[in-house]
Symmetry: C2
Subunit: 100 residues, 2 copies
């Protein structure tokens, strides 16, 4: 899946990823999703979990009631790769279908 | 569902809750569960989410691959109540069935 994205490649990717930003050290992509309630938040997580498992690339995420804070990083590579961008896109699509 | 548990009541409850400990300020119950892989960790979360939703009492939790860090607190009451103890027990039962 290739290695670390350059700063420029990350900037280009983020331009197409609504709601995502870079960690201060540039080593992760972060977004906090806010849903209507726990049911929706966990529904989002369930769909995202299936996608993550299928691609064998998993998020670091925290859920508190209707919010889901996500951080994506490729630990083997020590930062952001195309796999993180791909999972961020999938998460945005899932959230969009839920009206977020 | 009653109010905040006293320090003594929390200590009694924790004595029956394998793996759980109190936050430094006594306002939450914490446990980190470690499973075999993401499939098991998210399976645990899914069962716990259904139980949480049914009782309308939800965890603050973070998942990183095969680990699930849980913090339970009753925000309306400002700390630990019987509802947190009940959810902690349910989570332990779910984890135990998964062999954890």
């Amino acid at each position: 899946m290739g290695g670390l994205l350059s700063e420029e490649a990350r900037r280009d990717a983020l331009a197409g990823l609504a709601g995502w930003s870079e960690a201060a050290d540039g080593k992760a992509l972060n977004r906090t999703f806010t849903f209507r309630d726990f049911n929706e938040a966990f529904g989002f997580m369930t769909r995202a979990a299936l996608a993550a498992e299928k691609s064998d690339h998993h998020p670091d995420w925290r859920n508190v009631y209707k919010t889901v804070e996500v951080s994506l990083s490729t630990h083997d590579a020590g930062g952001v790769t195309a796999r993180d961008v791909a999972l961020a896109q999938v998460m945005n699509e899932i959230a969009m279908r839920l009206g977020v």
